[in-house]
Symmetry: C2
Amino acid sequence: MDTKPILMAGNWTSCGADDPTFQSFNPISGDALPQRFPITAWPDLESMATASIDASRALAHVDPERIGRFLERLAECIEADADRLTQTASLETGLPQPTRLASVELPRTTDQLRQAARAARDVSPSGWRRPVIDHQTNIRSCFEPLGGAVLVMGPCNFPLAFNGISGGDFAAAIAAGNPVIVKAHPAHPETTRCLAESVVTALEDTGMPPATVQLFYHAEHEDIARLIEHHAIAAVGFTGGEQAGRAIKSVADHAGKIVSLEMSSLNPVVLLPGCDESGLESFAEAWSGSILLGSGQFCTKPGLCFLIDESVARNLADRTVAHLSGTESCLLLTSQIVDGLESGVRMQQDAGAILLTGGLPVEDAGWRFQPTLLMTNGPSFLEMPDSMQRELFGPAALIVACENKTELLACLRSLGGQLTGCLWGDEAAQGGEVAHEVRSTLRSKCGRLLENKMPTGVAVVPSMVHGGPFPATSHPGFTAVGMPGALQRFAALRCYDGVEESRLPAILV
Amino acid sequence: MDTKPILMAGNWTSCGADDPTFQSFNPISGDALPQRFPITAWPDLESMATASIDASRALAHVDPERIGRFLERLAECIEADADRLTQTASLETGLPQPTRLASVELPRTTDQLRQAARAARDVSPSGWRRPVIDHQTNIRSCFEPLGGAVLVMGPCNFPLAFNGISGGDFAAAIAAGNPVIVKAHPAHPETTRCLAESVVTALEDTGMPPATVQLFYHAEHEDIARLIEHHAIAAVGFTGGEQAGRAIKSVADHAGKIVSLEMSSLNPVVLLPGCDESGLESFAEAWSGSILLGSGQFCTKPGLCFLIDESVARNLADRTVAHLSGTESCLLLTSQIVDGLESGVRMQQDAGAILLTGGLPVEDAGWRFQPTLLMTNGPSFLEMPDSMQRELFGPAALIVACENKTELLACLRSLGGQLTGCLWGDEAAQGGEVAHEVRSTLRSKCGRLLENKMPTGVAVVPSMVHGGPFPATSHPGFTAVGMPGALQRFAALRCYDGVEESRLPAILV
């Protein structure tokens, strides 16, 4: 079968016959899927960078209305192609087509694109451009596109809503007037290619510069580093694992490029003291449901539960194991996730955590892992932070039984930056002294603080913060979800000093 | 004479008798000034970091009204101590006391503090906290203090207005509710110490946590790196040279800390075609005045002038040399600036630039350099970017004579990020085709675009952008001058999801 072409400067371009290729896999069977995709070499990446310079310049003169129409047209094209897209995505990810992809993720994707379209058009003082006009000094400022391309690298776990093509970073970067170069996630290249077909139609239908969106599927690490360093690239948007994220951040930081990372989060939940049996049971039910959602492959999966008192911990552990045991095995997206879980569980066991259930891959066709629960105590958690704070991406979690409030707070203070943090307990507990101290400690550790609510749902509303301190993200002042906030990551603040009115941007007149 | 104490956790603390010390110098005579200041070792830096954790926690419960009162009280204390402060600053910097320090810089400093006080109190949707409330989902977000200290390192060139104590970064960090640890610039430690005395009074008078502001004067590079990496430090604010800035950025980036840098800028000015003799003369006058202002030691000094046509370049060169020659020598702030100028001029000469005037230190008492002008052509500028784009911090500038528009645009495209960029020419020139292309190229290279106005004045107004792409700063989405924008650099975006009203911050209810 022919190797699929990349999308370069508006054209579907074939790679050389001898270029290396890769295939994606069906997670249910573990079999390689038939399509072959190129591992793009530097000359083609460089050509894409060069093409993006023209797109950048052209976009500077494109009306936000047109950008909005493009994003809306893209949403329509995706809806028109929904069956094929969700079938393809299901084949490449194993995610259920009707319940997850068609009913939840695709509508979320098109809703995000439409919200981004509205954000692109918003020229009010509360919009992303935040115009400030000082008539007295004739100094005026606003946010503008970066003047270079955004390299978008999406994660494996949301083949539509966070896809490099048409997902959150894509929508935000385009809405803020930047061209994008997308690296597909190699676990779902065909889904990404299908989405890019919708993009090409939408670009043509709305008269957008053809190189506004370019796509490749895979490249060597050193070539991706060269691309980040290229003067045509102004920013990088990456969602994925911490190891890759840190490597990308290092290259981007050294080159002085903006880097918007969403990497690793344990999403601690603190079960407050004073929980009765029925409260414990409803927590166990909610928590295990959240751990199993999407086979635990959410960046907001609540992977850590802290509480005081070992007997409560044992009680919770028994109940949670009972809930988790209702699921025999969880289908995972990639073999790397299976391997990462297995080694992560072993690492935590080696550090002293006790395995309560699961812990092993399921030796069957495809990629599956047992729902997994571990338990440790405060001193062990504090002593081995690298092991205990390792993200177990998948259906696995760790209970940390603390002896008292002091130990609990010490554990919380030892945490790295998180996307979310949650306090769980009845009104008396939430108003109590322990909760007060837990809240103020957890608050500065996470972007989103929850009460009696599992963090796995991430509403796409303007007040959402899907962000947090490093290493959850690269900068605690931004959010990856929610408009217009998400656009701010890919915008430059600029001012005009003494510039004659006819030469000012329309928004500043 | 005794070594001056550092300000640690609210107390003036002496260092050990054997600790190394340093002195500042009188730039006019080159003589060391009598006071000795400690080079603080790691244990004291670590104690300051620890003390700042308590201050962070305490500040989380301090009303913005109190923070505002502190900043205003500090402005009053500085005004009450104006004579001593400006005398001391003049002694350490050689800057004229009445015309520069007393009449311009001190009022600017107190005005900034008062603007920061107003910004701290502003809880409106356009204030720095930017509250967003979604009643339907009960998800609410706002900006908050970082939850850690800001390490502030000020530059040598504004001993008051950008001093680590009481300058722009200080005011912004405190107004956003963060404690600060200040490293004085070693060229004006006594000025900084005097300012810190005002800080101590203002902290006491307004009942602020004592460790809100801490001060040391100097430390080894490796200890400063350890301090940046310390978990108590959330952000670094640095203004200064590119070499130090890059080193600090590297440490902060690797540790995942926010870093707000203002480093290096050439501030290109493009003299548009069609300038007649009188236009050329008034440009030469304005430009040379801006080059000489503060002996050229402004981060916004226009150090590069691009134009088309060698004969115009020679004409401009003659006129500019005539203006510069009216000043025999320029007093500089430090001996390092003298050395940097001398080696920078030589480097540009080696790269092919022609020295038109100046180029040498003045062999006299103290630190002086001749007003300096160099000239090169487009091809040389493009061929040797490292030499030609080296910032000559001081009274020196480079004319780049381009052959045509294509060469001019190529030169502009080769530039790194800048704080400012300027187009100079009459209305016909500004509206012409060359200006159009120059403008769109320059626009994405700089934070502030000017028309027929030299960039050295930086008005403290909300629409000011004192920022720009790397390496001018570390992130093009922020400004170091102008409220409330400057606060945003030291703020975290946070959301509350399902949190009961009584436990929400007041601004979100």
